[in-house]
Symmetry: C2
Subunit: 727 residues, 2 copies
């Protein structure tokens, strides 16, 4: 990929003392790049391979002595003290109560009277500045003239004295050594220091061919509690980008001030699943401008030294999300994404720009997974099954692993599994030659409040919060959503926002619009449905032949007598407690419907959503008693469907394919290159005339495929196999 | 009850042609009153019994020729036409589309430009009166200058040409004959006509001793659809009380106008489960004043003729609900309530006033229940088990049945069952002598938006909407709620409103406050929790030693970062989609808690409510995975508890007893006259020194009861038995 005379496509980590093993796996797995970390040196043999050398670097974490000397340049953020109830007129609040004392200090560099805010959270008011005093050294607020039995909070600036990633590695992976601090390059002196240090670093790393940035400026949001446990996470949150300096510049640029409340947001912290406020969107834009500038400066230094720049999507990646419009300005050559499922793959593969895309696969070779009794190849195969589905629909160029190869090597089955996976990837590159497989019908658009900026993000729904996690510190949303089903389907998929629709209408190449997720979230749109133009635009689209698919609480926003604003199109309403007097009529399943006949009975429609019919002409295809799980309707010349939820399963994915074809008015029987077996995925590459057949199960499967030239092909595919043939 | 020399306490219906059977059951079941209907005559033998004679009368339904001659006096109501989407600038709406043409006509007596309203339900606006024309004769509205793909509705006055009860009897019970119309006595001429007719009726019914009104003026709300099916019901709805005359008088009295939207309410029709608006409360008051005046006039006529007045709680009872403050002014002597469970019994027994209370039991002796293969005594026993529990805590004086005795007589087991039930009731009257049983601890107050006005109403919660009904025309809420559990517990119970709290604070005799039901309803209070004073008053109450019990979505109203406004007291928050980033920690059950140890494992906590802990110190007693079903907490010197739901079961009822004792800081072990067996209820009557023991199961049960004088009593009670003993 890097050079025509090299055959490999995989990046592997080097490991001191295990050079021979690295070399062995390098060859076995078809690697062409080695990744070092500061401190690891390469043996001569490895150097002689002529491989690409990725050097990992996180500039803002690289200079700890400077960080120690400059607490005023550390990352800061607004935290809301945990609500405390006054029982008398005087109330004392310890700002950091409930928060990690190892991670946070109250920012002593910012004047509280200028930058902090005290709120009464019972009567929704700001407490007059004269009624409180804050001692930042002691971290204590005293509120006078409090109203008894009202709750108070202080929005204060906290200084982060322990980087979230360093903290994670200490606490979860047992790392010892220095507790890393992150520097905020927004401060001019700090930025200059870091840039000049990086220039030196470049010179000191002549063998590096790829600078792998992890990442640039600001970490995503992880808040830590009293016992250093995670208490809140937002992988896309801009909460850790705050400094008085940036706030002052923001006001100069936008003509208005961001307040502490704009950040703490009643304790919801502008989570990505919330509709963003106009002010917060401005802040994000402001931060993005800064980060793009800073990143570009670093990338340019690397380029000038003749090195490529790679960015790992994660850690300090706030402001450099690849789907943002400014991302391409940075000049990144290689996008690296951690990929555990189809959605993550599409997040890597589908962002704009012509850069190389490299998937870093799980598991990481760390002792949490690679310990006696574990079966790492099992978990890897679960991921690979999902990833492969998405690979059939989109393109990446490279793969890679991280961690300690010596650990992985203790699991021979795993080594064999990766060898097989690598061969499959090799064939994929050869047979596709970077071209795309054929898609069916008009585009499928996913409509939410973010649009393309937040493409291919898992939007967890409420019932997923209550999954029992296998690890106490994580919620397991990944790979369990309708989005995962979609990631492997033969459709052109794009993400559109309500603003897109309002500005440009609905493009004529869009056949089906999907709105899915929980009410009150950015995923369904909430207040966006309060805009009559949004509603009428969607109605017109469907009435004129479009398809609308709602999953969960689509178009939900209580107004004008409807909770589902497109309840007329869906023929449904949700019981919110406001319509209990409407008489429930027994449901009848429409067994004659073509989609009913495509159901296997193994589909999983998740938790009931308290949805009932308000239009007699809808076809109900699945219900749990009186609870509707799946139904379809017609509206004008268009079609609609509602699904209570659609967790990822192979059966659900195939059903979704059939449903979208139906919504798009395509006949699956006459559409070439579709699989008739839910456990087999099929893709046809017109430019190479290759047909791919993937068996996602541990059993042999048969499939019948209609082709344009040869009529029906019948094929048998071995367990987990990925077959190719010329057609 | 009526005369000291008479022993009976039951009202039975007479039936022409079956006089002997009536006489036989009259004696067997200890009746003392006979109920006739117009048209039925009594045999001499029945007349000679000297029984009370109840004559059923519904004045507003009694004069059909007058009704036919005066369509302008028929009952009217505001209906909202079903929303219709414009696809071009002109939109035609058939007002009655989707509504029963047998029941409704568009009111041709009211000028649409004065009394109707056209609304755009997409942009929430009123359509200018110049942009529409309505032909009331044809029932058609034409809207001009419509916005394409916006929805429109017309709020119009409909005239009811078929009374809801008559309709029900035709359609469900196969009655034939005249389709009855109801007259609206709000019209002066109509009222005068009805009153003078009633005066004549009184003279023509000399043998009548009790005038049984069914009821007075306005029926509760039943809306009927295209196929005459029920589409909306509100047993307490004031929707059918509207006339232009009343609207004009209202404006004169209150100084402002009720608009059509005040009635149709976005299609929610001010259902009882919704928080009432101030305007609607005024309207209810206005109607109540009128109905109380009209009813008093009729009752006075009856009294002057030496007859008593009975009111059946149902049918045309709007404005005469016994818990309203003005009810006692009417002068009713006997309250009759249809009683199918403990809640209905308490609704009858607990309203203020010294009148006689008579429970009309189910089943009605009609062919829907009394048909071959059915087991009417089974259903009756299910009811009786619930009713008996409530009888132990409250007093009524009489019981009764309705329907055709000849039908019941075909089921000898049922006849025996009623004989047994009647004997039990007889003993109950003898042993209690109208006194009340002992209650435990401080009062339990149920807090909702209605307070005492809507005491003892089942507040259905969302999951109950989705029960599959055994009859397509009804939703089965009855007897399935926490309220039903409460109806049989040894506590003083009262219903309080948020206004009560705001005006008078929380009375010191209240030990525990319960808030229960769905969010957005009048049962939990919704916007009421937006008032900081409500929140701080409750906090102060608990902090100073009170108990708070929340069931379902207590104190729910999204503001200031909380969905549960008393989330600090409960230590909980609900996942609404707004807090998915908060990290879920695995739940731990507090098995050492005294309440955990009182659980039998058979309790049923209903559907999960997406509730998670936000306070580490709560004790979780039951969860479904990560979903909390039951937990308790302390707050100041008080206690709190949350339950996801608590359908009526015997185990749930006993658990609720234990929980309330705990919240009230009573020790159940040292409290006398409590049962230690969930299937046995115990009540002690201090004034008669009688102890009642009720076995609610079909198996023999043993029980141990702590008494003040004799220490522990151990007793065995036969299946379904109700034992009494002097202690």
């Amino acid at each position: 990929m890097f050079n025509n005379d090299k055959k490999g496509y995989m990046t592997l980590p080097v490991e001191s003392g295990h050079e021979e093993l690295v070399l062995d796996l390098y060859k076995k797995w078809n690697a062409d790049a080695l990744r070092d970390s500061d401190g690891t040196t390469m043996s001569r043999e490895l150097e002689n391979l002529g491989s690409e050398v990725y050097s990992t670097i996180c500039v803002v974490r690289a200079q700890q002595d400077f960080a120690d000397a400059h607490p005023e340049y550390l990352h800061r953020k607004y935290l809301m003290s945990h609500p405390k109830t006054a029982t008398e007129k005087k109330l004392t609040i310890n700002l950091l109560d409930g928060y990690s004392k190892d991670k946070y200090e109250v920012d002593t560099n910012s004047d509280p009277k200028l930058w902090f805010e005290v709120r009464n959270r019972t009567n929704s008011s700001i407490v007059n500045i004269a009624n409180w005093e804050i001692d930042t050294e002691k971290g204590v607020a005293i509120i006078n003239n409090a109203i008894p039995y009202n709750e108070y909070t202080v929005s204060f600036l906290a200084r982060q004295v322990w980087d979230s990633v360093s903290m994670y590695n200490h606490l979860t992976n047992g790392w010892t050594g220095r507790k890393i601090k992150s520097l905020d390059p927004y401060h001019k002196e700090c930025r200059e220091y870091l840039v000049s240090w990086f220039k030196k670093w470049i010179i000191e790393h002549p063998k590096t061919t790829v600078v792998r940035f992890t990442t640039f400026a600001f970490n995503f949001v992880i808040d830590s509690g009293e016992n250093n446990q995670d208490i809140y996470r937002d992988w896309l949150g801009y909460g850790e980008t705050v400094s008085p300096e940036a706030l002052i510049d923001f006001e100069k640029k936008y003509g208005y001030k961001m307040t502490p409340e704009d950040f703490v947001d009643n304790g919801y912290y502008n989570a990505t699943y919330k509709n963003p406020s106009k002010k917060y969107l401005d802040w994000m834009d402001f931060i993005r401008d800064f980060v793009v500038g800073f990143s570009s400066e670093l990338v340019e230094i690397a380029h000038k030294a003749g090195k490529r720049a790679a960015m790992f999507q994660g850690d300090h990646w706030i402001g450099t999300e690849p789907f943002s419009k400014k991302y391409e300005q940075i000049g990144i050559d290689i996008n690296i994404g951690a990929v555990e499922d189809g959605v993550a793959l599409r997040r890597l593969s589908d962002s704009p720009g012509e850069m190389i895309r490299e998937a870093r696969f799980y598991p990481y070779f760390f002792p949490d997974v690679f310990k006696e009794g574990n079966n790492p190849e099992g978990g890897s195969m679960d991921n690979w099954v999902k990833i492969r589905r998405a690979l059939l629909r989109s393109n990446i160029h490279r793969i890679g692993y991280g961690g300690y190869l010596s650990l992985a090597n203790k699991f021979p089955n795993f080594i064999e599994h990766v060898s097989d996976l690598s061969s499959q990837f090799n064939l994929y590159l050869e047979n596709t030659k970077g071209t795309k497989s054929k898609t069916v019908g008009r585009k499928v658009a996913i409509l939410n409040s973010w649009g393309s900026l937040r493409s291919w993000l898992q939007n967890a729904v409420k019932d997923q919060r209550f999954h029992i996690p296998s690890r106490p510190d994580i919620m397991e949303f990944v790979g369990s959503n309708p989005m995962e089903c979609l990631s492997g389907l033969p459709f052109d998929i794009e993400f559109i926002s309500f603003d897109d629709i309002l500005s440009n209408g609905i493009n004529s190449d869009i056949g089906v619009i999907i709105n899915m997720g929980d009410s009150m979230t950015s995923w369904t749109g909430h207040e966006q449905w309060g805009n009559p133009e949004v509603i009428s635009t969607l109605r017109e689209f469907v009435s004129n032949g479009g398809g609308f698919l709602g999953i969960g609480e689509p178009s939900s926003y209580l107004k004008d007598g409807r909770f589902f604003q497109l309840g007329d199109i869906l023929g449904l309403e949700k019981e919110t407690g406001l319509t209990m007097g409407r008489v429930a009529m027994p449901l009848k399943i429409d067994e004659s419907h073509i989609l009913y006949q495509s159901l296997t009975g193994l589909e999983d429609f998740g938790k009931d959503q308290d949805v009932y019919p308000i239009d007699e002409k809808i076809s109900i295809l699945k219900s749990n008693g009186q609870q509707i799980n799946l139904c379809v309707n017609s509206y004008g010349t268009g079609r609609s469907s509602y699904i209570s939820n659609l967790p990822f399963t192979l059966e659900n994915s195939r059903f979704l394919e059939n449903l979208i074809l139906w919504l798009n008015k395509s006949d699956s029987k006459l559409t070439p290159y579709l699989s008739d077996n839910p456990y087999v995925d099929v893709a046809f590459y017109p430019e190479t005339s290759m047909l791919a057949l993937v068996n996602s199960t541990n059993k042999e499967q048969s499939v019948k495929i209609y082709t344009e030239r040869d009529g029906y092909l019948k094929r048998t595919i071995k367990a987990y196999s990925w077959d190719w043939e010329k057609v």
